[in-house]
């Protein structure tokens, strides 16, 4: 976690430097007050300063500015108590992630029917680990439900691809 935190802090620092560099190319002040580069420059400086605090916290292994226990989400707990992730976790995760990225790229070219059917098929079968009949049922019914709900009822103009009218 220390390494990851340090790496994240360095990315924040790099972002800060990049922002400052880009902001310097914009006018800092305009005729009647601050210009377009004013806020970005200060945001870049803020990121750089924050990265120093983040590196310091990561190196000391603690967050001194945090008097209270962790607030919020279970991820922080998961991060605080890392456990090895086996193949049985990574395999469905990679399938899920890969199919999500594929859906993002293919949603418009393939259209609602084909893209969502393919995504549903892959995920119900290999991520949800359902049997073939359930997989086929979900694959057929999901695009129909999405079409009726969004295109017909909510009138959302979605790409329908080769099967669109």
């Amino acid at each position: 976690m220390r390494k990851a935190d340090t790496a994240a802090a360095l990315i924040v620092a790099a972002l800060g430097v990049f922002t400052m560099y880009q902001a310097r190319r914009l006018p800092y002040s305009a005729e009647y007050g601050p210009g377009a580069g004013f806020l970005p420059l200060w945001l870049g400086i803020a990121l750089l300063l924050l990265s120093v605090v983040l590196v310091r916290n990561a190196r000391s292994g603690a967050a001194p500015e945090t008097p209270d226990p962790v607030i919020g989400d279970e991820a922080s707990v998961a991060v605080a108590q890392p456990s090895p992730l086996g193949r049985e976790i990574w395999r469905p995760w990679l399938i899920f992630f890969g199919s999500t990225v594929a859906l993002a790229f293919l949603f418009e070219p393939l259209g609602l029917w084909l893209s969502t059917a393919a995504f549903t098929f892959v995920n119900i079968r290999w991520v949800g680990d359902r049997a073939w009949p359930a997989t086929i049922l979900f694959t057929i019914l999901t695009p129909i439900a999405l079409y009726v709900g969004f295109v017909r009822l909510l009138l959302v103009p979605l790409p329908l691809g080769p099967f669109g009218s």
Partner: protein, 503 residues
């Protein structure tokens, strides 16, 4: 007062006609569904349905659209609690405790207290709309750019203090959100910033695209890595389980009252909206609580306060819209567009020239709130049954909704890709304990923050003391600085104590 009651009575005569009752029911039900669908937020829902109302009677149209508006505030809670994915920005903070309650098998309770809190706050908001419109808009008018800037800073620091494991990580998220909000055309000079000659960057990043990616995809990618898997939470489907116990009610009632009041006053301010109200209510509630350590781990007040606040704020935002013609939020801005399309001009003359419209709308809000609380309490079993679906399958459907939601904003495939990128960023932030909510708040409030800052400094000719010499801004900025310095004080104290201990 008699005159006011007469006007309201006439409004009820309009709102209680079978046709308008039907449109109110359609509106609140559609709002509930739209709010619950991640990515199809209130603004999108109202924008999508606005064109359908052009041929309708304006009073029926506004009753239906307003129903969608405040119905979505209720609906947004459902996805926040059940799948940790806010239906809209105003329910982001509800995920902190609402989802934890769901994981503990108390989803029905979370939704129940949210519905009750929302009903109380929503009804209070409408009563205040009825009674105090002229008086309170006068106070809101005293807010100039420095006050807005100070208020937004307070929202940022409050959020950074309550989310994630450290203030510095929270602030980093907010600053990155602010930075992303500067992408596109400069709001004052029109000069492109950080666009790198790419046309698709000229409009900047849509906060909804970012929110869908960060909260939807990011959360799910993280959830899929949970070695134990997300347990299917067994929730009793009986509606009685949604009613709070006496202990829970005792804990929540103060939160509801405080959330209602905060929401109302923040919602009054044009541009501030229910998102900031919910964050502030959560922060105040945590500060006022006798057991702040329970916040973020399923504290019922952590659901009651922000839910009351966002509903109260959504009602309050109608005041500047109706009496001044100034929208208080993104959705009321779309409603303003609807007013103009129907040939009505919101402002002081609206109540005298079109009393049936203005008072019919206000009366319908009382009825709509009543419909919503009944709908929520009795429909909770239906929504809670979503949890029985295995996580892998739930996750697939969330991705489908997220992709459709991102695409439908502008019918633009690039938005889907940006949403996916934000999803990867959200996943990384989640693993490293950076606050995604902070980034989204920075992105949402960034343009208003920048405009207020630059207008303030233009007014003062570059003198930063303008933020401290005006009473309201000064008080808010002192609270901001105290929030930022407080962890340092605690750190110094602990170091001193450890030195004394060692010595």
């Amino acid at each position: 007062m008699i005159e006011l009651l007469e006007s309201l009575f006439r409004g009820f005569e309009v709102a209680l006609t079978p046709q308008n009752l039907l449109f109110a029911l359609i509106g609140v039900t559609a709002g509930q569904v739209i709010g619950a669908l991640p990515g199809i937020g209130t603004v999108v829902g109202v924008s999508l349905l606005l064109p359908l109302t052009f041929g309708m009677d304006p009073t029926s149209a506004i009753i239906m659209l307003a129903g969608i508006y405040y119905g979505a505030q209720y609906g947004g809670t459902i996805s926040s609690v059940l799948i940790n994915m806010p239906g809209e920005a105003a329910t982001v903070v509800t995920t902190l405790d609402g989802y934890q309650m769901a994981r503990q098998g108390r989803a029905a309770k979370a939704l129940g207290i949210a519905a009750i809190g929302s009903f109380i706050a929503g009804t209070f908001g409408v009563i205040m709309v009825t009674l105090l419109s002229p008086l309170l808009t006068t106070f809101a008018l005293r807010f100039g750019p420095p006050e807005y800037f100070a208020l937004i800073m307070l929202g940022f620091t409050s959020l950074s203090a309550v989310s994630g494991s450290s203030l510095s990580k929270g602030l980093t998220s907010v600053v990155i959100g602010l930075l992303l909000s500067t992408v596109g055309l400069d709001i004052m000079s029109g000069r492109p910033r950080f666009t790198f000659d790419q046309v698709w960057l000229l409009d900047g990043f849509s906060f909804l695209v970012a929110a869908i990616g960060l909260f939807g995809i990011g959360e799910i990618l993280d959830g899929m890595l949970d070695p134990a898997g997300r347990p299917i939470i067994e929730t009793s489907l009986r509606w009685r389980n949604s009613l709070p116990s006496s202990v829970e009610w005792l804990r929540s009632r103060g939160a509801i009252v405080r959330g209602t009041l905060i929401g109302f006053f923040v919602g009054l301010l044009p541009g501030a909206g229910s998102t900031l109200a919910s964050f502030m209510a959560y922060s105040v509630e945590r500060g006022a609580s006798h057991h702040p350590e329970e916040f973020g781990k399923g504290a019922i007040e952590g659901v009651a306060a922000p839910e009351a606040a966002n509903n109260s704020a959504s009602a309050a935002a109608m005041i500047p819209l109706l009496t001044l013609g100034i929208p208080g939020s993104g959705t009321t801005a779309v409603l303003l567009g609807g007013f103009l399309l129907w040939g009505l001009r919101p402002g002081p003359l609206l109540f005298t020239e079109h009393p049936e419209f203005a008072w019919g709308l206000i009366a319908s809000m009382y009825i709509g709130n009543l419909m919503l609380v009944v709908l929520n309490i009795f429909a909770i079993p239906l929504f809670a049954s979503m949890l029985r679906v295995p996580y892998g399958i739930q996750a697939s459907f969330v991705v489908l909704f997220a992709v459709i939601g991102a695409y439908s904003l502008d019918n633009n495939p690039v938005d889907v890709l940006i949403m996916t990128l934000f999803g990867v960023l959200g996943f990384a932030m989640k693993r490293l304990d950076y606050s995604a909510a902070g980034l989204v708040l920075g992105l949402v409030l960034g343009p208003l923050a920048e405009r207020s800052l630059r207008q303030s400094l233009t007014l003062s000719r570059g003198d930063w003391s303008i933020f401290f010499t005006r009473p309201i801004a000064g008080v808010l900025m002192v609270i901001v600085i105290a929030t930022l310095l407080w962890p340092l004080v605690g750190y110094t104290r602990r170091r001193r104590a450890s030195r004394v201990g060692a010595g």
